[in-house]
Every structure is written in C-alpha cells, then in structure tokens.
C-alpha cells in the first residue's frame, strides 16, 4: 500500500501543469464553479484540449484517447482544476463515450466517437422529464417504430446545454406494455431534427444552462438506437455510475477551498478570526477524506473490482462538500457577496462569484440522482448483503 506517485507520474504532472499554465483561458466570465456558461470560451477550451489529444482524457488508445492510467487521469483532472481550467463537458466524453464503447455498434463508434474526441460535436443528456425526476423510470417520451425510423414525441427537462448541443442522447419508451424499466431504450437524436423545440430555464444563479426540450413527431433513423430495444435502463445505470463518480468534484473543491484559504490568509480582519479558521479546518478534513475515498474508488476501478456503493458515496459526500465550501465563501464574504451579476471596484474574485456559485450548487445534491435517491440505492445494497 502506498500513495506516492512514481517519478514517471511526477514527470507527467509537471508536463500537464506546464501545459495548463500556458493554455488555461483567462476570462473574467469563467467562474469555474462547475458548469461553464460562456459558450465561445468553453468551445475554444475544448478545441485546444482536443488539439493536444487530451479532451477525451479518460478514453483508451483504441478509441483515440491518450490511454492514460487511472492515476494519470486523476493527476490531469487535479492539475486542470488547480490551474482554473473549466471542467470538460461530461456528456460526450464521460457519459456517451463509454456507453458507445460498451454497447454501441461498430458503425456508431466510427461515426460518433471521433467527433466527441476532436471537439467537433457537442452532446446533451435527455433523461429527466416533468413527471420523471427521481423516479426516472416513469419517463413517458415515446419512440414508435415506423419502418426504418423512430418517431419521437414527448418532453425532456433540466437539459444542460441543450442550446449548445449538436446531439442529445435520450431515454425513450419503446414499449408501454412491459414493466416500466423494461420498456426503455437509448436513442441518439440530432438536435437539428425538425420537431425539436428548446426553451430556456433560467436558474437561481442568474444564468442559463438548463432547458426544456420538446419533441413533436421527431424522426430518428433506427441506426441511432444504442444496444437493443428495451436495454435503455441497463445502459442508463452504466452511464450513471460514471456520472456519479465524476460529479464528486474533488478537484474543483480542492481548488475552491485552496482559494478561499488564500483569500482569508491575505485579509487581516478575516485571518485573525478563530471561527473562520475552525470552519476552514473542518472543510479541509472533509476534503481530505473525500479525496482519499475518491482515490480508493479509482484504485478499485483500475483493478476491475466490482463497484457497488462507491458512486453514491462520492456523489453524496462530493456534493455536500461543494455546497459547504460555497456556503463558507458566501458567509465569510458577507456583504462583499451581495453585488449581483455585476462588478464592484475592489471586489475579491472568490467573493464576486460566491453568490452565483452558492445558488448554482444547490443543484448538486439534486442532479445526477438526488442525494435522497442515492441513499435509497445505498440502503437497498446494504440491506441485501449477507
């Protein structure tokens, strides 16, 4: 057992750090709090990563990824966040990519994976519906087979970056006469298809990342079905494990807490407050625990061990910590956090965005399967053991 990085891994870290130093975009509109909201900046960043061959950083070489080890991926993600690099959009690289590798046809892999890897096509995720939130399997969006096409009718909601995306991967109901999980299929849909309408949802952080997406008689070629009809729920569960492990946001939390500590240390009035010191210390202990839980899960994944409760542990603890750090920023910032979506002279960067970040991160315990749903899943697994 050891947690040291090898000389090769340290050399890799130095290489990534140097590249990030030279390439991370510096923009006042990039608050780095989880989801970027500047389209041009985000696309330029992903193209830059793609040119370097690092966008699909978790992919094996066989699919044009860098073929990094789990440890290298961890180092890459940590260095990216520490340098203030915007997060990579998860929908193509983290979610759909592995799904196509596991369940997709050769033609689907050839058609879609290179475009994700090269930042040529952007994806969004069509899972939730107005009446299918935590109870995702209750989804109603229908896909009826007509000859060589599906005809899709229904509505998706909470669709992050639908307004930026070229494609959407959806869970759709292809059979209404079987138990609800068994009638679901996984379908890829071109966002330019006639019959798709996108309506923005503005969120309490003051920004637009979320949308409603309406489907009216949208025709989708049957070759866009991933896996078999009725296999959608199995595919979704596979995808959600990757999503939940990714959204622990350890690297982001490390960066945010580090910045907050620096801001406090540089400000005599705050630096001398023992209540603030104590609060930062508690967050640091939580972060350290999460960081090593994350590493343990990555280590398990690298050896191909079965993954059960771990994604839920990371999702719950990761989102709670992100929220706790942003709440500390907000409360330590106090009045400095109140100017809303505007610049005030002399404001400290961390506090300027603290309110937006705090408001945005309320969603982190809701998306990706709410923390309460995670606890249901955990209890089911725990109580089934023995």
């Amino acid at each position: 057992m050891n947690i040291d990085f090898t000389p090769d891994e340290e050399a890799f870290r130095a290489e990534v750090r140097e590249w990030m130093r030279q390439n991370v975009p510096r923009s006042p509109e990039a608050p780095n709090f989880g989801i970027p909201n500047d389209y041009e900046l985000n696309r330029a960043w992903e193209r830059k990563l793609a040119d370097k061959g690092w966008l699909a950083y978790s992919w094996p070489k066989a699919y044009g990824g860098p073929g990094w080890t789990v440890t290298q991926r961890y180092i890459f993600d940590a260095e990216r966040a520490l340098a203030g690099g915007p997060p990579i959009s998860p929908f193509g690289v983290i979610m759909l990519g592995p799904v196509l590798m596991k369940f997709g046809s050769q033609a689907q892999k050839d058609r879609y994976l290179p475009a994700i890897r090269d930042a040529k096509e952007a994806w969004c995720q069509g899972f939730s519906e107005p009446q299918a939130g935590s109870d995702l399997a209750a989804l109603k969006t229908r896909a009826e087979r007509r000859g060589d096409r599906y005809v899709v009718n229904g509505q998706k909601i909470w669709t992050t970056h639908a307004h930026w995306a070229d494609f959407i991967f959806c869970l759709v109901r292809t059979d209404a006469d079987v138990p609800k999980q068994q009638g679901i299929s996984f379908l890829m849909i071109d966002m330019r298809s006639p019959g798709i309408e996108i309506r923005p949802i503005r969120t309490i952080d003051g920004h637009h990342h979320l949308n409603e997406v309406f489907f009216t008689d949208v025709e989708v070629p049957i070759e866009n079905l991933v896996g078999q009809e009725g296999q959608g729920w199995t595919i979704a569960k596979y995808l959600l494990v990757n999503e939940r492990t990714g959204i622990a946001g350890v690297a982001e939390s490390k960066r945010q807490l580090g910045m907050l500590r620096k801001v406090v240390a540089a400000d005599p009035a705050r630096a001398s407050d023992p209540a603030i010191a104590r609060r930062l210390a508690e967050l640091r202990v939580q972060l350290l625990a999460l960081e090593y839980t994350h590493l343990r899960v990555l280590d398990l994944a690298a050896r191909g061990s079965p993954i059960g409760l771990e994604p839920s542990v990371l999702k719950i603890k990761g989102s709670e910590l992100q929220q706790a750090i942003s709440e500390a920023e907000l409360e330590i910032g106090g009045l400095e956090c109140l100017p809303w979506l505007t610049d005030v002279s002399g404001s400290i960067r961390t506090f300027k965005w603290a309110a937006e970040r705090y408001n945005f991160l309320r969603a982190s315990s809701i998306f990706g399967g709410s923390n309460e749903v995670q606890k249901n899943i955990m209890a089911k697994l725990l109580l089934a053991q023995h």
Partner: protein
Amino acid sequence: MDFSLTSEQLMLRDSASRYLEESYDFAQYHRSLAAEGHCDASVWQQFAEFGWLGIGVPEALGGLGGDAIDAVIVNEALGAALVVEPYLSGALLPARLLLQLRSADLQREWLEALVAGKQQMALAYAERDGRGDPGYCAVTARPAGDGYTLTGSKQCAFNAPNASHLIVSADRAPPAGQVSLFVVPVNAPGLTLESYPVMGGGVAANVRFDEVRVAPECEIEGGSDALEAGIDFAILADSAAALGAMEAVFRKTLDYVRTRKQFGAPLASYQVLQHRLAEMYLELEQSRSLILLAAMRTAAGTADERKLAVSSAKVYVGDASRLISQQAVQLHGGIGVTEELDVGHYFRRLTAYRLRHGDREFHLTRAMRYEPLN
C-alpha cells in the same frame, strides 16, 4: 498509488479475524473484563504466540517487523471483536518508543519481555491542565547526580496498573520547554499510582512522582518529537480499532433492522431508517480512507504529512464514531441501552475513543498548522 494489501498483510488480516471470531466472543469479553487488569493471561499469551506483540519491532530485536499498516490491520480486527486486552497501550506503543532508548542492553531486555508477553509497560504523558496536548508538561526532570529526579502528576495513564515500567514525559527545566521521555519502574521510590478501570474496558492510573530517581541510560532519545510521533502512532492504531468497532456495530445494526418487526413490517422497510443506515455507511467509508492515509503517512512520509493525516483522521473518526455509535443504539431501541446486548458495549468503547489523545479542537487546529497553502 496502490491501496491493496500485500499477501502477507492479507494473511495477517484473515488469521486475526479468524482467531477472534472463533475465540473472542462476548463471553470472552466478559471474562477479560473480570480478569486482573482487564487482561486475560491466556489471551495475552496467544497474542505473543502470533507475534502480534512484536509488530513494528525489527526482527533483529526479536520482533515480527512490519509497519504502521500491519498495526492498523491487527487493531481493526481487535476493535471489531471488542477486545479489551491492552494491545496498544501495553505493548505496541511502549515497544515503539523503546526503539529509541539510549541503552541498547536495556532495550534488548525490555523489548524481549514485551514481545514475549512477559511484561507490559505504559506511557504516562497526559496531564490535567494539558487537555490532550502532549506539548503541555508540568512534570519536571531535575538533574541529580548523573541522572534526574521526576516530580509532578500524570493523568489517566492507560494500562499503568499492569505495567512494570512507565514511559514518562518530563520537562528538563531549566530551561523550560524541553520535554524528554524517561523509563521508570513502577516500584521506584516516590512513585504512586491511583488505579481505576476506564469506560469501554481497560485500566488506567493517575500517577504521582515525588522526586523519583531515573538513570541516564533510561532516557528515550528524540524528546518531544519522539513523544509526538508515538502518540500519533497510538492515535492511528486506536482509530483503526474504532474503525473495526464501527464496522462491527454497523453490521449488527443492519442485521437487527432486517429482523425486528414493528407495525407489521421489518424496521428495514422504513425509509427514514434506511437513510440513517446510508449515512452511517458514508462516515464509515470516509473514516477508512483517512485511516489508510494516516497509516501510509506514518509508515512513510514526512513528519508534517503524518501530523496532518493523523489529526485529520482523529477529527473525522471521532465524529464518525459518535454518529455511528449513537445511531446504532437508537436503531436498536430499548435493547440498545442494556448491558445484556453487545451494542451498548461498542457504544461505550467508541465514546471512550473520542476522549483520548487530544480533543476535536486540538486536532482541528493541529491539522491546519501542518498544511501549506497551495
């Protein structure tokens, strides 16, 4: 990066679990509590035969070798079985401190006796006004002849009633602030013990030193650094025992809610209780992460890395042990607060864990001190 155990470590873990499962049930726990000094001699002899008393002692000195990770493995298994014998305070910790004893002859003699289970020792460092800070030391060591005389009082020295010798921290004033460690026999003139059992099992003593003479070869090199490293090791091993206890009492709670029925349904069917179980598990797993980190930093790492990791683990495991032990009792209902069921005994064990070796505030502050801003 590698979190897996070596094949030797897996064997150690499996053999410890197997022995304790077969030989250390709740009845044995009571027999051990009834034994002199809360230590059943036959159990202790068994530990010696397994070589457990020599973990961390180099083979050249008659030990089993191994490092902090081996100590964590055995302590976790002991904690899960609710073992009361003073494995850490009576053998493992004193042996570790004796590795820096000035006299090589005494070191060989004492380590041999400790590893063979013929003798136990104890560390006396805590003081009433120190509140868990090992740096606080009002016991003085004044030069006398070629040695010293010790004067002052120590509080709650774990396992002191069973010990042949005490390892004592004392300030070599003047000048003040230079803490040294000395080994003194408990029957030394001027040394008095007030012995008592402690909550959760084990014995301790308040110790009074009244001009107790100590020979120069009985000094442990390294002073306050050696003391701090020793206590960090004790915290790590104690936390591993707490982890074992948390895991065991959590599993017992899972079993109970599956079988206990109220309102015509098993307790496990109620969502409010399901979520409580999930929350207990979260803290259990996070505790394990920090204990593994602390073990690796203790086995190999700088002193600052070790201090950060150990204090962080102490804070986290303290909180986790509180939540898990309280909720284990709560979910068991009335039977959870009885002497009859082992759950309440785990509860006391885990409560005692939180009160030893520095409180939450102390370790929060310490954790922050040893981490650079990056």
